[in-house]
Protein backbone atom coordinates (compact mmCIF):
# COMPACT_ATOMS: atom_id res chain seq x y z
CA UNK A 1 0.00 0.00 0.00
CA UNK A 2 2.60 2.51 1.02
CA UNK A 3 5.06 0.37 -0.90
CA UNK A 4 7.56 2.49 -2.81
CA UNK A 5 6.02 5.53 -1.17
CA UNK A 6 9.17 6.64 0.63
CA UNK A 7 11.34 5.82 -2.30
CA UNK A 8 9.34 7.94 -4.66
CA UNK A 9 9.51 10.70 -2.07
CA UNK A 10 13.27 10.42 -2.26
CA UNK A 11 13.18 10.62 -6.03
CA UNK A 12 11.04 13.72 -6.11
CA UNK A 13 13.34 15.47 -3.62
CA UNK A 14 16.68 14.45 -5.03
CA UNK A 15 16.06 13.22 -8.57
CA UNK A 16 17.81 9.96 -7.67
CA UNK A 17 16.25 6.94 -9.35
CA UNK A 18 17.06 4.02 -7.11
CA UNK A 19 15.86 1.50 -9.68
CA UNK A 20 18.77 2.45 -11.92
CA UNK A 21 21.15 0.70 -9.54
CA UNK A 22 22.08 -2.76 -10.86
CA UNK A 23 24.07 -3.70 -7.80
CA UNK A 24 27.54 -3.83 -9.31
CA UNK A 25 28.98 -2.72 -5.99
CA UNK A 26 31.56 -0.33 -7.41
CA UNK A 27 30.49 2.37 -4.93
CA UNK A 28 31.10 0.08 -2.01
CA UNK A 29 34.36 -1.18 -3.45
CA UNK A 30 35.76 2.34 -3.48
CA UNK A 31 34.11 3.76 -0.35
CA UNK A 32 36.69 4.72 2.29
CA UNK A 33 34.30 4.13 5.17
CA UNK A 34 32.22 1.20 3.85
CA UNK A 35 33.70 -1.17 6.40
CA UNK A 36 32.61 1.13 9.25
CA UNK A 37 29.03 1.39 8.01
CA UNK A 38 26.05 -0.74 9.07
CA UNK A 39 25.16 -0.96 5.40
CA UNK A 40 27.66 -0.16 2.68
CA UNK A 41 26.32 2.10 -0.10
CA UNK A 42 25.40 -0.63 -2.61
CA UNK A 43 23.57 -2.56 0.10
CA UNK A 44 21.75 0.61 1.09
CA UNK A 45 20.68 1.06 -2.54
CA UNK A 46 19.26 -2.46 -2.52
CA UNK A 47 17.34 -1.75 0.69
CA UNK A 48 15.84 1.30 -0.97
CA UNK A 49 14.92 -0.70 -4.06
CA UNK A 50 12.72 -3.00 -2.01
CA UNK A 51 10.58 0.03 -1.27
CA UNK A 52 9.36 -1.30 2.06
CA UNK A 53 8.91 0.87 5.12
CA UNK A 54 10.78 -1.67 7.17
CA UNK A 55 13.91 -1.38 5.06
CA UNK A 56 13.58 2.37 4.81
CA UNK A 57 13.52 2.60 8.57
CA UNK A 58 16.58 0.41 8.75
CA UNK A 59 18.37 3.00 6.67
CA UNK A 60 17.16 5.96 8.70
CA UNK A 61 18.30 4.20 11.87
CA UNK A 62 21.68 3.24 10.43
CA UNK A 63 25.03 4.90 10.92
CA UNK A 64 25.76 4.67 7.17
CA UNK A 65 24.05 7.94 6.35
CA UNK A 66 26.05 9.73 9.05
CA UNK A 67 29.39 8.23 8.20
CA UNK A 68 29.13 9.22 4.55
CA UNK A 69 31.74 11.93 4.06
CA UNK A 70 30.27 13.10 0.76
CA UNK A 71 33.67 12.51 -0.80
CA UNK A 72 31.80 11.56 -4.01
CA UNK A 73 34.07 8.72 -5.02
CA UNK A 74 30.98 6.56 -5.46
CA UNK A 75 29.32 9.05 -7.79
CA UNK A 76 32.53 9.62 -9.71
CA UNK A 77 32.79 5.94 -10.54
CA UNK A 78 29.15 4.85 -10.69
CA UNK A 79 28.40 3.43 -14.13
CA UNK A 80 24.79 4.54 -13.73
CA UNK A 81 25.74 8.00 -12.42
CA UNK A 82 23.57 7.65 -9.33
CA UNK A 83 24.04 10.59 -6.98
CA UNK A 84 24.47 8.70 -3.72
CA UNK A 85 25.92 11.71 -1.82
CA UNK A 86 22.87 13.79 -2.63
CA UNK A 87 20.68 10.94 -1.51
CA UNK A 88 22.63 10.71 1.75
CA UNK A 89 22.00 14.41 2.41
CA UNK A 90 18.31 13.79 2.02
CA UNK A 91 18.29 10.64 4.17
CA UNK A 92 20.04 12.54 6.96
CA UNK A 93 17.39 15.24 7.02
CA UNK A 94 14.72 12.53 7.01
CA UNK A 95 16.41 10.71 9.84
CA UNK A 96 16.44 13.91 11.90
CA UNK A 97 12.87 14.88 11.12
CA UNK A 98 11.63 11.38 11.98
CA UNK A 99 13.93 11.32 15.01
CA UNK A 100 15.57 8.03 14.02
CA UNK A 101 19.19 9.02 14.33
CA UNK A 102 21.77 6.33 15.03
CA UNK A 103 23.83 6.95 18.23
CA UNK A 104 26.92 7.40 16.03
CA UNK A 105 25.30 10.48 14.62
CA UNK A 106 25.31 12.35 17.93
CA UNK A 107 28.79 13.90 17.76
CA UNK A 108 28.36 14.52 14.04
CA UNK A 109 25.05 16.31 14.43
CA UNK A 110 26.38 18.12 17.50
CA UNK A 111 29.29 19.37 15.44
CA UNK A 112 27.09 20.46 12.55
CA UNK A 113 24.67 22.25 14.88
CA UNK A 114 27.49 24.04 16.72
CA UNK A 115 28.98 25.00 13.37
CA UNK A 116 25.71 26.42 12.08
CA UNK A 117 25.01 28.24 15.34
CA UNK A 118 28.33 29.99 14.99
CA UNK A 119 27.51 31.12 11.47
CA UNK A 120 24.04 32.20 12.42
CA UNK A 121 25.31 34.59 15.05
CA UNK A 122 28.45 35.95 13.43
CA UNK A 123 28.12 35.07 9.73
CA UNK A 124 31.46 33.33 9.86
CA UNK A 125 32.91 30.36 11.62
CA UNK A 126 34.19 31.17 15.10
CA UNK A 127 36.40 28.19 15.80
CA UNK A 128 36.87 28.71 19.53
CA UNK A 129 33.13 29.13 19.97
CA UNK A 130 32.51 26.09 17.79
CA UNK A 131 34.77 23.86 19.86
CA UNK A 132 33.29 25.14 23.11
CA UNK A 133 29.74 24.60 21.89
CA UNK A 134 30.61 21.16 20.52
CA UNK A 135 32.15 20.13 23.82
CA UNK A 136 29.22 21.29 25.85
CA UNK A 137 26.90 19.39 23.48
CA UNK A 138 28.86 16.16 23.65
CA UNK A 139 30.46 16.43 27.10
CA UNK A 140 33.81 15.70 25.48
CA UNK A 141 35.71 18.26 27.52
CA UNK A 142 39.05 16.50 27.37
CA UNK A 143 39.14 16.20 23.58
CA UNK A 144 41.87 18.05 21.76
CA UNK A 145 43.22 19.63 24.92
CA UNK A 146 46.66 18.87 23.58
CA UNK A 147 46.28 20.58 20.24
CA UNK A 148 44.37 23.70 21.18
CA UNK A 149 47.23 25.47 22.98
CA UNK A 150 49.50 24.57 20.09
CA UNK A 151 47.02 26.10 17.68
CA UNK A 152 46.95 29.22 19.75
CA UNK A 153 50.71 29.41 19.83
CA UNK A 154 50.88 28.98 16.06
CA UNK A 155 48.46 31.85 15.68
CA UNK A 156 45.70 29.62 14.38
CA UNK A 157 43.04 30.48 16.93
CA UNK A 158 41.36 33.83 17.27
CA UNK A 159 39.99 34.28 20.75
CA UNK A 160 37.42 36.76 19.54
CA UNK A 161 34.97 36.00 16.73
CA UNK A 162 35.09 37.78 13.37
CA UNK A 163 31.70 39.19 12.63
CA UNK A 164 30.13 40.28 9.39
CA UNK A 165 28.25 43.56 9.25
CA UNK A 166 24.91 42.36 8.00
CA UNK A 167 24.27 39.81 10.71
CA UNK A 168 20.56 40.39 10.50
CA UNK A 169 20.69 39.00 6.99
CA UNK A 170 22.22 35.81 8.37
CA UNK A 171 19.49 35.47 10.96
CA UNK A 172 16.88 35.96 8.29
CA UNK A 173 18.43 33.28 6.08
CA UNK A 174 18.44 30.83 8.99
CA UNK A 175 14.89 31.72 9.96
CA UNK A 176 13.67 31.13 6.42
CA UNK A 177 15.47 27.82 5.92
CA UNK A 178 16.58 25.47 8.65
CA UNK A 179 14.46 26.98 11.43
CA UNK A 180 11.48 27.10 9.17
CA UNK A 181 11.95 23.41 8.39
CA UNK A 182 12.18 22.54 12.05
CA UNK A 183 8.88 24.16 12.89
CA UNK A 184 7.26 22.48 9.92
CA UNK A 185 8.24 19.01 11.04
CA UNK A 186 7.10 19.69 14.59
Amino acid sequence: MDKKHKVSDLQSHTGVEVMRCYQCGKCTAGCVLASDMNYPPSYLMRLLQTGTKENYDKILHSNSIWLCLNCENCLGRCPMEIDIPKMMDYLRTRSISENKMHPDSKPIIAFHRSFLDSIKHTGRLYEVGLIAAFKSRTFRFAQDLNIAPMMYLKGKLHLLPEKIKDRRHMKRIFAQTIENAKTETK
Binding site: V32, L33, D36, L67, L69, N70, C71, E72, N73, L75, G76, E81, D89, Y90, R92, T93, I96, P107, I108, I109, A110, F111, H112, R113, F115, L116, I119, G123, R124, L125, E127, L130, I131, F134, Q143, D144, N146, I147, M150, M151, K154, G155, K156, L157, H158, E162, I164, K165, D166, H169, M170, R172, I173, F174, Q176, T177, I178, A181
Partner: protein
Protein backbone atom coordinates in the same frame (compact mmCIF):
# COMPACT_ATOMS: atom_id res chain seq x y z
CA UNK B 1 45.47 41.57 -13.29
CA UNK B 2 42.60 42.11 -10.89
CA UNK B 3 40.48 39.31 -9.47
CA UNK B 4 37.91 38.85 -6.73
CA UNK B 5 38.99 36.91 -3.67
CA UNK B 6 36.88 34.87 -1.28
CA UNK B 7 39.10 33.56 1.53
CA UNK B 8 36.50 31.67 3.56
CA UNK B 9 36.51 31.06 7.30
CA UNK B 10 39.35 28.55 7.56
CA UNK B 11 41.75 30.96 5.91
CA UNK B 12 41.11 33.56 8.56
CA UNK B 13 41.49 31.07 11.40
CA UNK B 14 43.08 27.68 11.60
CA UNK B 15 44.53 27.92 8.11
CA UNK B 16 45.91 31.42 8.19
CA UNK B 17 49.10 30.28 6.54
CA UNK B 18 47.16 29.38 3.42
CA UNK B 19 45.79 32.90 3.29
CA UNK B 20 49.21 34.37 3.92
CA UNK B 21 50.83 32.32 1.18
CA UNK B 22 48.07 33.03 -1.34
CA UNK B 23 48.39 36.73 -0.69
CA UNK B 24 52.19 36.64 -0.79
CA UNK B 25 52.35 34.68 -4.03
CA UNK B 26 49.69 36.85 -5.64
CA UNK B 27 51.67 39.93 -4.71
CA UNK B 28 54.87 38.45 -6.10
CA UNK B 29 53.10 37.58 -9.35
CA UNK B 30 51.42 41.00 -9.47
CA UNK B 31 47.91 39.62 -9.17
CA UNK B 32 45.61 42.10 -7.48
CA UNK B 33 43.28 40.21 -5.13
CA UNK B 34 40.15 42.16 -4.25
CA UNK B 35 38.61 40.67 -1.15
CA UNK B 36 34.86 40.33 -1.21
CA UNK B 37 33.25 42.73 1.28
CA UNK B 38 31.16 41.38 4.13
CA UNK B 39 31.46 37.78 3.01
CA UNK B 40 29.90 35.01 5.05
CA UNK B 41 30.65 31.35 5.64
CA UNK B 42 29.72 28.98 2.77
CA UNK B 43 28.04 26.63 5.23
CA UNK B 44 30.46 23.79 4.46
CA UNK B 45 29.46 20.19 5.15
CA UNK B 46 27.33 21.19 8.12
CA UNK B 47 24.79 23.09 6.07
CA UNK B 48 24.24 20.51 3.35
CA UNK B 49 24.11 17.71 5.88
CA UNK B 50 21.37 19.50 7.78
CA UNK B 51 19.29 21.58 5.41
CA UNK B 52 19.29 21.90 1.63
CA UNK B 53 17.88 25.42 1.40
CA UNK B 54 20.40 26.71 3.90
CA UNK B 55 23.21 24.96 2.03
CA UNK B 56 22.18 26.82 -1.14
CA UNK B 57 21.39 30.17 0.45
CA UNK B 58 24.73 30.71 2.15
CA UNK B 59 26.87 30.28 -0.98
CA UNK B 60 24.25 32.14 -3.00
CA UNK B 61 24.66 35.17 -0.73
CA UNK B 62 28.40 35.10 -1.37
CA UNK B 63 27.89 35.00 -5.13
CA UNK B 64 25.18 37.65 -5.00
CA UNK B 65 27.53 39.90 -3.02
CA UNK B 66 30.25 39.39 -5.61
CA UNK B 67 27.82 40.31 -8.38
CA UNK B 68 26.68 43.34 -6.41
CA UNK B 69 30.30 44.44 -5.93
CA UNK B 70 30.91 44.18 -9.68
CA UNK B 71 33.19 41.16 -9.63
CA UNK B 72 33.19 38.92 -12.70
CA UNK B 73 35.55 36.29 -11.38
CA UNK B 74 36.58 35.19 -7.92
CA UNK B 75 39.30 32.90 -6.75
CA UNK B 76 38.39 30.58 -3.89
CA UNK B 77 41.49 28.97 -2.39
CA UNK B 78 39.62 26.73 0.07
CA UNK B 79 38.64 23.57 -1.81
CA UNK B 80 35.54 23.12 0.34
CA UNK B 81 34.27 26.65 -0.33
CA UNK B 82 35.18 26.30 -4.02
CA UNK B 83 33.15 23.12 -4.20
CA UNK B 84 30.15 24.54 -2.35
CA UNK B 85 30.04 27.64 -4.54
CA UNK B 86 30.37 25.72 -7.79
CA UNK B 87 27.78 23.12 -6.80
CA UNK B 88 25.36 25.81 -5.62
CA UNK B 89 25.78 27.71 -8.86
CA UNK B 90 24.94 24.50 -10.72
CA UNK B 91 21.95 23.69 -8.52
CA UNK B 92 20.55 27.18 -8.95
CA UNK B 93 20.31 26.68 -12.70
CA UNK B 94 17.06 25.06 -11.67
CA UNK B 95 14.51 27.89 -11.80
CA UNK B 96 12.25 26.90 -8.86
CA UNK B 97 15.28 26.56 -6.61
CA UNK B 98 16.62 29.88 -7.82
CA UNK B 99 13.30 31.56 -7.12
CA UNK B 100 13.16 30.14 -3.63
CA UNK B 101 16.72 31.22 -2.84
CA UNK B 102 16.07 34.72 -4.20
CA UNK B 103 13.06 34.91 -1.91
CA UNK B 104 15.16 33.89 1.10
CA UNK B 105 18.06 36.22 0.29
CA UNK B 106 16.04 39.19 -0.90
CA UNK B 107 18.96 39.89 -3.21
CA UNK B 108 19.30 39.69 -6.98
CA UNK B 109 21.28 36.69 -8.23
CA UNK B 110 22.36 36.25 -11.86
CA UNK B 111 24.54 33.18 -11.54
CA UNK B 112 27.18 34.16 -14.08
CA UNK B 113 30.07 34.64 -11.68
CA UNK B 114 33.20 32.74 -12.70
CA UNK B 115 34.55 30.73 -9.78
CA UNK B 116 38.09 29.37 -9.88
CA UNK B 117 40.36 27.55 -7.47
CA UNK B 118 43.97 28.41 -6.73
CA UNK B 119 45.36 25.92 -9.22
CA UNK B 120 43.27 27.48 -11.97
CA UNK B 121 44.43 30.94 -10.89
CA UNK B 122 48.06 29.90 -11.14
CA UNK B 123 47.47 28.09 -14.45
CA UNK B 124 45.68 31.13 -15.83
CA UNK B 125 48.47 33.37 -14.73
CA UNK B 126 50.75 31.24 -16.83
CA UNK B 127 53.42 28.85 -15.86
CA UNK B 128 55.89 30.90 -17.91
CA UNK B 129 55.46 33.86 -15.58
CA UNK B 130 56.14 31.73 -12.55
CA UNK B 131 59.14 30.15 -14.27
CA UNK B 132 60.59 33.57 -15.01
CA UNK B 133 60.54 34.56 -11.35
CA UNK B 134 61.99 31.44 -9.75
CA UNK B 135 64.92 32.26 -7.54
CA UNK B 136 65.23 29.00 -5.62
CA UNK B 137 64.04 25.93 -7.51
CA UNK B 138 61.84 23.75 -5.37
CA UNK B 139 64.06 20.68 -5.75
CA UNK B 140 62.05 18.19 -3.77
CA UNK B 141 60.27 14.96 -4.43
CA UNK B 142 56.70 15.46 -3.33
CA UNK B 143 53.28 13.84 -3.47
CA UNK B 144 50.51 16.11 -4.75
CA UNK B 145 47.34 15.49 -2.80
CA UNK B 146 44.13 16.82 -4.37
CA UNK B 147 41.54 15.33 -2.03
CA UNK B 148 37.87 15.13 -2.93
CA UNK B 149 36.52 18.60 -3.23
CA UNK B 150 38.76 19.99 -5.95
CA UNK B 151 37.90 17.31 -8.50
CA UNK B 152 34.49 15.89 -7.61
CA UNK B 153 31.77 15.99 -8.78
CA UNK B 154 33.54 16.10 -12.08
CA UNK B 155 30.34 16.68 -14.04
CA UNK B 156 29.88 20.03 -12.29
CA UNK B 157 33.42 21.20 -11.52
CA UNK B 158 34.87 20.05 -14.86
CA UNK B 159 38.32 20.57 -13.40
CA UNK B 160 41.26 18.34 -14.33
CA UNK B 161 40.70 14.62 -14.75
CA UNK B 162 38.70 12.77 -12.18
CA UNK B 163 41.18 10.04 -11.29
CA UNK B 164 44.87 10.88 -11.14
CA UNK B 165 44.58 14.65 -11.73
CA UNK B 166 47.66 16.44 -13.00
CA UNK B 167 47.34 20.22 -12.65
CA UNK B 168 49.08 20.49 -9.28
CA UNK B 169 51.80 18.10 -10.42
CA UNK B 170 52.39 20.32 -13.44
CA UNK B 171 52.83 23.40 -11.24
CA UNK B 172 55.28 21.59 -8.97
CA UNK B 173 57.27 20.51 -12.01
CA UNK B 174 57.36 24.12 -13.20
CA UNK B 175 59.07 25.22 -10.00
CA UNK B 176 61.62 22.42 -10.26
CA UNK B 177 59.99 19.78 -8.09
CA UNK B 178 59.57 16.09 -8.76
CA UNK B 179 56.11 14.58 -8.45
CA UNK B 180 55.15 10.98 -8.10
CA UNK B 181 52.52 8.54 -9.17
CA UNK B 182 50.90 7.48 -5.96
CA UNK B 183 47.67 5.87 -4.88
CA UNK B 184 45.83 8.35 -2.67
CA UNK B 185 45.75 11.54 -4.74
CA UNK B 186 41.99 11.81 -4.56
CA UNK B 187 41.06 9.61 -1.61
CA UNK B 188 39.21 11.31 1.22
CA UNK B 189 41.16 12.44 4.32
CA UNK B 190 38.06 12.41 6.54
CA UNK B 191 37.16 15.99 5.79
CA UNK B 192 34.72 17.54 8.21
CA UNK B 193 34.99 14.71 10.76
CA UNK B 194 38.14 16.25 12.22
CA UNK B 195 36.46 17.15 15.48
CA UNK B 196 33.42 14.90 15.58
CA UNK B 197 35.00 11.59 14.49
CA UNK B 198 38.71 12.08 14.97
CA UNK B 199 39.16 8.28 14.99
CA UNK B 200 38.03 8.00 11.37
CA UNK B 201 40.11 10.97 10.27
CA UNK B 202 43.15 9.39 11.85
CA UNK B 203 42.54 6.18 9.94
CA UNK B 204 41.95 7.80 6.55
CA UNK B 205 44.63 10.47 6.84
CA UNK B 206 47.02 7.84 8.12
CA UNK B 207 46.51 5.77 4.95
CA UNK B 208 47.28 8.79 2.82
CA UNK B 209 50.43 9.75 4.71
CA UNK B 210 51.68 6.20 4.75
CA UNK B 211 51.42 5.74 0.99
CA UNK B 212 53.16 9.04 0.28
CA UNK B 213 55.85 8.33 2.83
CA UNK B 214 56.38 4.75 1.58
CA UNK B 215 57.06 6.12 -1.88
CA UNK B 216 59.66 8.52 -0.60
CA UNK B 217 57.78 11.81 -0.64
CA UNK B 218 59.57 14.64 1.18
CA UNK B 219 56.31 16.52 1.57
CA UNK B 220 52.64 16.44 0.71
CA UNK B 221 51.36 19.33 -1.37
CA UNK B 222 47.73 20.33 -0.84
CA UNK B 223 45.22 22.99 -1.88
CA UNK B 224 42.56 22.42 0.77
CA UNK B 225 42.64 23.68 4.37
CA UNK B 226 40.63 20.75 5.67
CA UNK B 227 43.06 18.25 4.17
CA UNK B 228 45.99 20.24 5.49
CA UNK B 229 44.68 20.44 9.03
CA UNK B 230 43.76 16.76 9.13
CA UNK B 231 47.14 15.69 7.82
CA UNK B 232 49.13 18.21 9.85
CA UNK B 233 47.38 19.03 13.13
CA UNK B 234 46.18 15.45 13.61
CA UNK B 235 49.66 14.04 13.07
CA UNK B 236 50.19 13.25 16.72
CA UNK B 237 47.10 11.06 16.83
CA UNK B 238 47.92 9.52 13.45
CA UNK B 239 51.44 8.62 14.46
CA UNK B 240 50.13 6.81 17.52
CA UNK B 241 48.39 4.34 15.21
CA UNK B 242 51.45 3.74 13.00
CA UNK B 243 54.41 1.47 13.60
CA UNK B 244 56.87 4.22 12.81
CA UNK B 245 55.98 7.90 12.94
CA UNK B 246 55.80 9.93 9.77
CA UNK B 247 57.30 13.39 9.88
CA UNK B 248 56.86 14.68 6.35
CA UNK B 249 55.30 18.15 6.26
CA UNK B 250 52.06 19.04 4.52
CA UNK B 251 52.32 22.34 2.69
CA UNK B 252 50.07 24.35 0.45
CA UNK B 253 50.82 24.65 -3.25
CA UNK B 254 51.07 28.40 -2.74
CA UNK B 255 53.71 27.86 -0.05
CA UNK B 256 55.74 25.67 -2.37
CA UNK B 257 55.54 28.24 -5.14
CA UNK B 258 56.29 31.02 -2.64
CA UNK B 259 59.47 29.24 -1.60
CA UNK B 260 60.53 28.92 -5.23
CA UNK B 261 59.87 32.61 -5.74
CA UNK B 262 62.14 33.37 -2.81
CA UNK B 263 59.49 34.50 -0.35
CA UNK B 264 60.43 34.04 3.29
CA UNK B 265 59.17 31.12 5.34
CA UNK B 266 57.54 33.40 7.86
CA UNK B 267 55.71 35.41 5.25
CA UNK B 268 54.38 32.14 3.80
CA UNK B 269 53.18 31.07 7.25
CA UNK B 270 55.42 28.01 7.27
CA UNK B 271 56.07 28.53 10.98
CA UNK B 272 52.44 27.88 11.74
CA UNK B 273 52.56 24.19 10.84
CA UNK B 274 52.48 21.53 13.53
CA UNK B 275 54.88 19.34 11.61
CA UNK B 276 58.06 21.32 11.19
CA UNK B 277 58.73 22.35 7.62
CA UNK B 278 62.37 22.05 6.65
CA UNK B 279 62.46 22.36 2.89
Amino acid sequence: MKIGFYPGCSLTGSSREYNESVVAVAKALEIDLVELKDWNCCGATAAHSMNEELSLSLPARIMALAEEQGLKEIVVPCAACYNRLKVTQHELEDQPKRNRVAEILQMPYKGDLKIINVLQLLEAYGTENIKARITQPFAHKVACYYGCLLVRPHAILKFDRVEDPQSMDALIQVIGGTTMDWAFKTECCGGGFSVSRTDLVVKLSGNILKDASDRGAEALIVACPMCQSNLDMRRGAINKTLDSPIDIPVIYITQAIGLALGIGAKELGLKRHFVTVEL
